[in-house]
Symmetry: C2
DNA sequence: GAAAATAGTAAAGCAAGCTTGACTAAATTT
DNA sequence: AAATTTAGTCAAGCTTGCTTTACTATTTTC
């Protein structure tokens, strides 16, 4: 299994969260479900699983060494390598030699991979647009501001 | 692996989400991490993994049949059963005969299990209290209202 | 009351997502 | 230039979280 940490989306019955955090978790989960559903629907992107998706945000634009990826993911080089191999096979990533170090390689997005990612983000923005149309700009903007504050608190 | 659906928390670099949904996902994830960290710290609860946690919110107060649990989880009875066995072993759940059907059993929380869950929720409320102290009641209340609207939209 | 459906259990198997251990090649240290 | 460290690969093995197949014990249907 993926050794995921436990997730805390519990009231005694899931359906009606009754405090802010549960509601936040539930909301994020449902929107994420909807987003990934749409991505899966539009792009007939194949075998991308959670582990692969988790890898991608750790790849910098200039490319990132495998060892660094592994560190960022908190797994061994071998584990990270396997994911990169998968993504390489379907043309999302490629490895190129690191000009600064003959032992090392840089993992970078292919154009196709980057475009796929941007497409996914566009779908996400589409979902946001629907939300704005339904809920109203002012509420969404306010939500955004509060989230910024919360993130600042968590990181600070 | 756990066959988790992919998760969509991507900008090209994870650290700075730049739209509401990404921010929402990131926020939920970080708060969930912190919540589970605290739960793990306080209660020396043992081997509870994500699969077990996911099971719990589907158990009704009157008890729930295994088949129903399996349906709600979208897995086979055997898969659900294994989780229940685990939770039974550590005293969180128990099976009792279903009075209405001699074949069936009802999966219910033990007192210990229910208390543990309530304790977890209390920790979550503690985290919310900290957030309120830091961010301010009005923002958190507003956040809550917007989340309610969003959930209504998703479900409606 | 015999036949079919349903609730649950038991056991084996499989893929995902890791790990550990053993290795090569290039870089760094001494 | 020899010794050590570092970047990455290869292969085998483990646990988790499922599945499929096979079974027993009740209940429902006819």
């Amino acid at each position: 299994m993926s050794h995921d940490p436990p997730t805390f989306r519990h009231s005694l019955n899931d359906a009606k969260a009754d405090n802010v955090l549960e509601r936040l978790f539930r909301c994020a989960r449902l929107l994420n479900d909807e987003g990934t559903r749409r991505v899966a629907e539009q792009t007939d992107a194949p075998v991308l699983r959670a582990a692969h998706m988790n890898l991608m945000p750790h790849i910098d634009l200039e490319g990132t060494r495998l060892t660094v990826l592994a560190q960022r993911l908190g797994v061994t080089k071998q584990a990270a390598s396997q994911l990169v191999v998968d993504l390489e096979k379907i043309g999302v990533l490629q490895r190129e030699p690191d000009p600064d170090d003959g032992r090392a390689k840089r993992v970078v997005f292919t154009d196709q991979g980057r475009n796929g990612l941007l497409e996914g983000l566009a779908i996400l923005r589409g979902l946001e647009a629907e939300l704005r149309a339904e809920i109203g700009d002012s509420d969404i903007d306010h939500l955004n501001q509060v989230l910024v504050k919360i993130l600042a608190f968590i990181n600070g």
